[in-house]
Symmetry: C2
Subunit: 279 residues, 2 copies
């Protein structure tokens, strides 16, 4: 453990308490989303063409109310509603329904992402897929788990060729949404031809479990990535930011995470595919 | 119904009997695959680098034995074992585990594909995802069903832009495996940027249910596509062959299927992306 990491200022018992709270929030989201899949919900398009449903708001409000009750001094960043206490040291960052289009279609890879950050560094994280009964969670210094099973990623054997390496990545839409980085998508899909595209946090969870050798998430916001670094690092993998782009609506991120050799290779491919930009 | 269709020579009650048999075969496969996911199975690489497991052989043998007992005069084409009675008018065509790599990783979108063809035309078809409790099946002239619910696809509203159209497609690996048709993958991913890649029959089932607006399967064999045309046509969608390539190991196919407007558009994009080849 890095002794200079600011997260060591938080006691192990506090970290465990926060992590238990993150899991309890995931339980609330899971129960509500399962019920809504049975009973139905309303669906609208946002101005950017993406879906938003009554479930997104309903679950976000449930989680916000619970956090405010338990941690009145903590900040909250959710996808659908304005930030609460944005200067607080502790920030709960979540996406109540990641993969809303898939949720609308009952494609079961949608999920809930929940993370607690302390001064910008993740302390606890959960990704939960209610219809798959799949949950990955981690606590800083306490390991990562798939359901109840401790995760321990091993690096990819260097003898495994790219065609047998399992890469999960964002759709091309994500690579061209804010700036035309389509060349990165093209280069990745040419080099790692055994790829899968889910467009949800399921791909993030798979990088922590090893079901993917690495996952690339591109052109997304902080709540999409808030849990993934901790999940993968606590599982023994690595995490690299490959895009950090300021936009009028906030910073847009890209990251690759999973087995270290694949993470390094993907980061190099993306860097080589894109023109050098003024910083 | 097309009265000249050779399948009308088969009585409705025979079709229903065959379809019930296809469902019973899917039950056998589902039960065995669920058990094997709990108990484990052996995994090997084939010479082409793809996975094969003891489950592929075990389920194929179970299904073959059942078919031979019930229909001793029918032919059988399975992925892992040699063809049985290849001249018979009735051919059971199946893939016991479609998406073996995902089955190995417990990614739940793998499934079993089962079809009965009569003189080359599909009479009954099933795609079953054991871990998702998802089944799509159809009988010629008798409709298509998702679990117990009758399917009725409507065509895509022409006002829906490509970015809001849901296309599922094969990985780039499939487009370059037998001949370099990577230009078709590139053209499709540029035009339909809201795409998903699963590399399993789950994407086929989603074209019948409407969870995908269309699905492209490329560079695969007859058992991968044996059920999909019937499932989608009986659901009210359309099916177009976009690749038929003889190879030393048998003919390789590509097809697009789903809502008719998207099917036509995808077929045109693929045709325009590839050079005109001598026939």
């Amino acid at each position: 453990m890095n002794t200079t990491d600011i997260r060591n200022a938080i006691t192990t018992s506090d970290r465990e308490r926060f992590s238990a709270c993150a899991l309890a929030l995931a339980d609330i989201a899971r129960e509500r989303l399962r019920a809504l899949c049975r009973t139905g919900f309303t669906v609208k398009r946002k101005p950017d063409g993406s879906f938003v449903t009554s479930a997104d708001f309903e679950v976000e409000e449930l989680l916000r109310a619970q956090i405010q009750r338990q941690f009145p001094s903590h900040g909250i960043v959710g996808e659908e509603l304005p930030a609460h206490l944005p200067q607080a040291e502790f920030q709960w960052i979540f996406d109540p329904v990641d993969g809303t289009e898939d949720f609308v279609q009952r494609i079961p890879t949608f999920g809930t992402i929940i993370a607690l950050h302390y001064r910008g560094e993740p302390l606890a994280g959960v990704i939960d897929m209610p219809l798959l009964d799949m949950r990955v969670h981690a606590t800083y210094g306490g390991g990562a788990f798939h359901n109840q099973q401790r995760l321990q990623l091993v690096d990819l054997d260097p003898a495994v060729p790219p065609l047998q390496t399992r890469l999960m990545l964002s759709a091309r839409a994500n690579f061209v949404r804010h700036r035309d980085d389509g060349a990165a998508f093209d280069a990745l899909t040419r080099h790692y031809q055994n790829h899968r595209i889910y467009r949800t946090c399921y791909a993030h969870a798979c990088a922590a479990t090893g079901q993917a050798d690495a996952t690339v998430d591109y052109g997304n916001r902080i709540w999409d990535l808030a849990a993934s670094r901790l999940l993968v690092e606590e599982a023994g993998g690595s995490y690299r930011i490959i895009l950090e782009l300021p936009t009028p609506n906030g910073t847009v991120f890209g990251a690759v995470f999973g087995r270290p050799r694949v993470v390094e290779s993907v980061a190099a491919i993306v860097r080589d595919a894109l023109p050098v930009l003024p910083r």
